[in-house]
Amino acid sequence: MRTTPKTTLQDVLCTFCASGCDNLEITYEGRVIDSARNGCAISVSRFTTADRSRLLKPLVRKGGKLRPTTFARAIDRAARILNRAKYPLLYGWSQTSCEAISKGIELTELVGGLIDNTTTSCHGPTILGVQDAGEATCTLGEVRHSADLVVYWGCNPVHSHPRHTNRYTVFSEGRFRRTRKDRKLIVVDVRKTDTAKLADRFIQVEPNGDYELLTALRTAVNGEEIEQDTIAGVRVETVEEIAEMMMECEFGALFFGLGLTMTSGKHRNTEAALALVKDLNYVTKFVIVPMRGWFNVAGANEVSTWQTGYPYAVDLTQGYPKFNPGDTSAIDAMTRGEVDAALVVASDPVSHFPREAVKHLLKIPVIVLEPKRTPTSEAAEVVLPSAMLGVEAAGTIYRIDGVPLEAKKVIDPPLGVRSDVEILDAMIKRVKKLGARR
């Protein structure tokens, strides 16, 4: 029998991917979310299964097993681990708020550690490419209003960002482009994905052939002749045709994903894509937008940049920020076995990092802030359950294109569960106190 009335909240922001759909309609009763309308299937699941596999009590490892403890004891243990460490890593951050990330940087500076976010394993090469070649970009609304040519390269938004094509690209309704007919869609990928099925032109590139193909396109755009017959499995006539399409459009938009950043060539691939778009601006208007994954991975870069000057892989052990990916990036420092303690916030490196890095992670004390059980939380020394951002806690996040949005608190977190900001704040206070005692 239902006793409390149902409440409906409008204009709720989805906190799954970084598309920033902020038109969800959430109906809930007490702590139970009944429905989440207007979003994709993933969004519905994020909201309606919020209570599944939750961590509810702070845990610390004792005699090889994680056992429930009080919040204060868990914080104390975490603070001692960080304080004792010589090269602690504070990692994750892409699924929490900018306010929490800000606390994370403060804590890193305090304990003299390394802070890195999940950019390191997704669009890190994009940032390195931008640092070499710059970037011509725009907010997604500009694409919706103006783009008559859309290119998805090495990404599959139909599955990764399900509302992307409807809200921002070929199926959206903009001021200067109204329907699908007003836009051409090119998809470049190694296989015929579900996104490719929507395309006017699908270009199947050989695996790891992106750099070659991008360079050939640049050659064509710059009016030079290509001598080969095929480029990375694509006939040269096709390359020239695509280049022609790009030059002849009024407003082109190239979106790219991990198919470009994490395949052979990495930041050279992104640099080539950025340079292609730059070249196209000599002829027409063209923009490029990376398809960032987690809902606040862009925000993690933003906060890190305005506070330390660098978007990820920031070493604060010397008392000032240092940035040298490959040296100061999480996976590399972990693989070299240098990190001697880790704080993981809203991320699951045990599932996502390379084996060598995970091997080392399993040897060192790990503190985890996470709403749900993950392989990383299972391996932790200290676990602090946290509220789900955008469901049980409010905070600022950044969309793919750098548009800042406010994630709402819809329902209360489970009893006793705190937000990342509260937990990190308590940790900072404890570290300061322990430091003073030392």
């Binding site: 902020d22 403060e106 931008v130 907010t139 997604l140 103006s146 809200r167 305005w306 506070q307």
Partner: protein
């Protein structure tokens, strides 16, 4: 908060007509008062100059484009780092410092209030996140209106009252301070890779002209009774011959008079004060522009002084940045913002040997020296476009010392030296005039009644410099002037000593100023109905999620005005 007494200082307070009198300044609860008790802390400023804290009217310190620039330029940071201290957080950055460092560096120079002059409304939440994080100084930001679709449509339809209501709503929604116009209509043209160069060019698809946009926003500024003037970056930035567009832009607002206040501030005029037909024959348009400013009271300017160093260009003027990138061939960032504006960023280095750079340096100084009234021309480098804000002491030394200028003139491009009027200008600023262009006049132009002076009730934001004007010959000992302004002996913020001998000894939280004009309910209601009906068509963010709540600002300071609509 303990009371404070600054004793025996040589006080310069241009707004109150105090031109170097030895006097004491009493401070209680963060404000300047008549007297304090005997237990007050005494700060001896004997043989030192006491001024109100510096007020910077135009410096790109925060927001989306500043952060894109930081992200794009790691090479800017690694050579300029600041380690954490007992009182300060760490940071990096020569031309675009990280936020904590930005606050500390301003405070070290005796600056206590700084305005970010261009924020894309849709991304202003970001700007406030950074402003919140900048320690010590007070701040505010100017939202961009000159290419906004709603603005251009109201202008086209001649619905000026609704436009006023819209601007009022936007200032409140973004917690913005003043109307900023950048390349009116030209950034909308940039959507299709084009630009507008003159005041009567037509904006594609909108059928309005830059002149109509500028005039309508001036009218709105007057109707809303906003504290600051309309802050304008004209069309044709950096192009040879653009001084005429700058003059046209000033002239087009001549009939909008405001009692004792300007209606238009034209910014970084060095970039838009060029005569000539090509890059090879760029000449100075400074004399014509200065003549105009000298003869009219509705307009003020700032030069955007160029410094020979590495810089980062950043502006909402996307098309101008692309044009400059094609010359500089360095790194280019472009970031257009839906239905509102754009942004461009390019890294660059100004060289003394480069003809155009040398001309720019000279044009900026000519502007500062040829405008006779220091209440009409303010000190800026258009940070980080002309040079980093940390160069202000250098600019001050050029203004107070002809010798300092001549010395540099001998080192710059010879053709530029020959073609500039600068070698023949002997004027040297007095310390009082420096105090005017760096705090009193800027505070007045911004309409900040409690800033820029040391009268009773003013905010106790004070800079004390190790300069004894009776002993120091500014013109000859310009290097000492530079040193003194780079490292304030003391900076006091809201009655607390934050800097001592040029080092930060305490970090406090500054406030963020924003404007809330009160428009009649009827007009507001009509405007809101129209706005709501189009919002989803124009934006990819829901209207309910667009406004920034007041509690988002960690220390909000609202200025309310009553509008004439």
């Amino acid at each position: 908060m303990p009371e404070l007494l600054i004793r025996n200082g040589y006080v310069l307070d241009p707004l109150n007509g105090i031109e170097g009198e030895r006097m004491d300044i009493a401070i209680k609860d963060g404000r300047i008062v008549e007297s304090v008790g005997r237990k007050a802390r005494v700060l001896d400023a004997l043989d030192m100059t006491v001024m109100p804290g510096g007020v910077d009217i135009h410096s790109h310190i925060a927001g989306a484009k500043a952060n894109c620039a930081r992200m794009m330029r790691p090479e800017d940071h690694s050579r300029d780092t600041e380690a954490k201290t007992k009182y300060t957080r760490s940071g990096v950055g020569h031309t675009i410092p990280s936020v904590f460092t930005t606050g500390y560096r301003y405070a070290r120079m005796g600056y206590t209030t700084v305005f970010e002059p261009a924020t894309p409304p849709l991304k202003t939440r970001h700007t406030h996140e950074e402003l919140n994080d900048i320690p010590i100084i007070d701040k505010g930001c100017f939202p961009l209106f000159g290419n906004n679709w709603f603005v251009m449509e109201y202008v086209k339809q001649g619905r000026i009252e609704e436009l006023a209501a819209y601007v009022a709503w936007m200032l409140e929604a973004t917690k913005g301070y003043a109307i900023k116009i950048v390349n009116p209509g030209g950034i909308e043209a940039w959507r299709w890779g084009r630009n507008l160069r003159h005041l009567d060019d037509n904006v594609p698809n909108f059928d309005v002209t830059p002149r109509q946009i500028v005039r309508a926003l001036c009218e709105v500024n007057r109707l809303l009774n906003l504290p600051h003037a309309v802050h304008v970056h004209p069309n044709g930035l950096s192009e040879p011959g653009n001084y005429q567009t700058t003059l046209d832009t000033m002239e087009c607002a001549r009939d909008f008079r405001r009692e004792g206040r300007t209606i238009m501030h034209v910014t970084h005029v060095q970039f838009t004060g060029r005569k000539g037909w090509s890059w090879a024959d760029v000449r100075s348009g400074a004399p014509e522009i200065a003549d105009y400013v000298n003869a009219h009271d509705h307009v003020s300017i700032d030069p955007g002084q160029l410094i020979f160093t590495n810089v980062t260009w950043m502006t909402a003027d996307g098309p101008a940045m692309f044009a400059l990138f094609k010359l500089a061939k360095t790194k280019w960032f472009n970031a257009d913002v839906e239905a509102e504006t754009g942004a461009g960023i390019v890294s660059a280095t100004y060289k003394k040997s480069n003809y155009v750079n040398a001309m720019q340096w000279g044009i900026a100084l000519e502007l500062a020296l040829l405008v006779k009234d220091p209440w009409k021309v303010y000190l800026t480098t258009d940070h980080p476009n002309g040079g980093p804000f940390t160069s202000y002491p250098r600019v001050i030394s050029w203004l107070v010392s002809n010798q300092a200028r001549q010395k540099l003139l001998d080192k710059i491009n010879k053709t530029a030296k020959r073609r500039l009027n600068l070698p023949g200008i002997g004027r040297e600023y007095s310390l009082h005039e420096i105090a005017t262009i760096t705090r009193a006049a800027t505070a007045k132009s911004l309409g900040l009644e409690s800033k820029g002076h040391l009268g009773l009730g003013a905010d106790a934001d004070i800079a004390i410099y190790d300069i004894d004007p009776r002993k120091l010959d500014l013109a000859r000992e310009y290097k000492a002037v530079r040193k003194a302004f780079a490292h304030a002996a003391y900076t006091v913020k809201d009655g607390r000593i934050v800097v001592k001998k040029g080092e930060v000894v305490r970090s406090v939280r500054g406030r963020t100023f924003w404007t809330k004009p009160k428009v009649s309910d009827d007009v507001m209601k009509t405007m809101m109905t129209g706005l709501a009906s189009k919002f989803d068509d124009y934006y990819t963010v829901r209207m309910a999620n667009y406004p920034i709540e007041e509690n988002y600002l960690t220390a909000s300071q609202v200025i309310t005005t009553s509008a004439g609509v």
